[in-house]
Amino acid sequence: MSTPFDGVWLVFRRELVTVRRTPGYAVLALGLLVVLGGLVAVGGGGATGFVPAVVDLLLPTEVLVPLLAVVLGYRALFADAASGELAVIRTYPVSAAAYVLGVLLARTVALVALVGGPFALVGAYVWLTAAPDTGIFATHAGVDSPVLFVRFVALVVPFGAAYLSLSAAVSTIATSRRSAVALGVLALLAGVLGGDLAVLRSLSAGAPAGGIAESIAFTPNGAFRGLVFEHVIGVAFAPEGGFVDTGLAAASLVGWSVLGAVAAVAAVAFGPRVDVAAERLRERLRR
């Protein structure tokens, strides 16, 4: 192995093969497709157009995509640590950063396929069944367009990646499969509900309503929702925008992913030392 990138690549390839050989993930993607298709059908079918489909899918997406991302991420780093294989891998010239990056990149590629695939198929269904004018590629506001749906799917990916990265990071402190599941669920609930509840609490505490566009951008769900309103739904119905600070929301989604990755690298690299530090502290207190 000549460069650190080789380590990332080899771990990435191994992880991707693992995901590909786990049939449960394909079943989840199929389930997601059925739910998304069902929601669009119940909402009036593909004939209503792309933006109405996005409106129908937005809220379920805010729950289903994080759920699928957490399922992909909650054992991503825990599995090797629990089996003891991480201790073996760490005797090879693979840094903690290369290992975590390889795993997370592979899981993110899997996320793109497992989440992007069903959304793309729903988009294709809308395209095939929508009224004639929705097939136009919009060049200005007020026109429904497949481009808007593509934008929606493009926003779904970093949204899911943020949850994937965070759940993988949280999984590094799990001590059993059960605790990994519990931590994953906790991360899911904190992300899906916690952010909005925090915003509501700040409003009830007297924070100005005008600051919502900024404050919601700090949570993954708020950032995603704001970007969808700003660049998908709002393009057709409220071109004046102002739902969210685009730069802040985009940085927030990327930031949560990076935060999760950095936390995971730190946990893999320094976790044993933290354990030892706690042991030394316990010894000191005992004396």
Binding site: M1, D6, G7, L10, R13, R14, V17, T18, R21, T22, A79, D80, S83, G84, E85, A87, V88, R90, T91, Y92, P93, V94, P272, R273, D275, V276, E279, R280, R282, E283, R286
Partner: protein, 260 residues
């Protein structure tokens, strides 16, 4: 640390939940096979984990003259944990292929070296316990590390497989320091160059096998074990079931396989 030492454990202590599992252990390991024996819960797995860099000591350190497990761009230490950890769903060749690629090694040659060439396309979960351990030994020796740490490579195997596993470990010891924990004292007798007897987290005896046998006026490692560890019944009880609590401080601390 002697000039020939490939790793030196210096005053290593490790505790879990306030209970010391290893206490003030010091020894040096040189090229050849060093067998670590001791009753269940004597700290064998912890000592091997510390040597492999998998367990961080609460006190003390391990020094490697040629570089430790996480230094440089080469593999310096090979490690097979007590529980063979490979992922299901991968064949033996794919499993070794991943590790071999990390050190520019040849997975087929490594499989052939432990007699698993015919099982290369078998999935890990379809391999017998013995084959999995041989695969683990092949993995640990990939990249020709200076120190190879094998935790209970013969645990739960039939006599033929035990012999194969130990022979594979001994072959690796031609060039490297192979540290192997085992309850198979007859195999230790046949293959080990040096022996470390652990008792309640401390070294009860350590040194070249022949010298220890002479010093304790015994014929074999089994006799040495009975004389030094003084708890033959614990050995007869079987495999390591994890680290037990220490209940006293009766053991003798002898520093160093190589008389440090």
């Amino acid at each position: 640390m002697s000039e020939r030492a490939l790793a030196a454990v210096d005053g290593v202590t490790r505790a879990y939940g306030g209970v010391p599992v290893l206490e003030g252990v010091s020894l040096s390991v040189e090229a050849g096979v060093t067998a670590v024996v001791g009753p269940n819960g004597s700290g064998k797995s912890t000592l091997l984990g510390v040597l492999a860099g998998a367990v961080e000591p609460t006190d003390g350190a391990v020094r490697y003259p040629e570089g430790g497990p996480r230094s440089g761009s080469e593999k310096r230490v090979g490690y097979l944990p007590q529980r063979v950890p490979f992922r299901d769903g991968f064949t033996a060749r794919e499993t070794l292929g991943f590790y071999a690629a990390l050190v520019d090694g040849d997975p087929d040659a490594a499989l052939a070296a432990v007699g698993l060439a015919d099982a290369a396309d078998k999935r890990v979960e379809a391999l017998s316990g013995g084959m999995r351990r041989l695969l683990g030994i092949a993995q640990a020796t990939l990249g020709d590390p200076a120190v190879v740490v094998l935790d209970e490579p013969t645990s739960g195997l039939d006599p033929e497989m035990r012999e194969r596993a130990f022979r594979a470990a001994a072959r690796a010891g031609d060039d490297a320091a192979v540290v192997v924990s085992s309850h198979d004292l007859d195999l230790v007798d046949a293959h080990a160059d040096a022996v470390v007897v652990l008792r309640r987290g401390r070294i009860a005896a350590a040194g070249p096998r022949e010298r220890l046998l002479d010093e304790h006026e015994v014929d074999d490692v089994d006799g040495l074990y009975r004389a030094v560890a003084g708890d033959a019944d614990a050995l007869a009880r079987g495999d390591d079931g994890g680290e037990a609590e220490r209940d006293g401080d009766e053991s003798v601390h002898v520093a160093g396989v190589s008389d440090r």
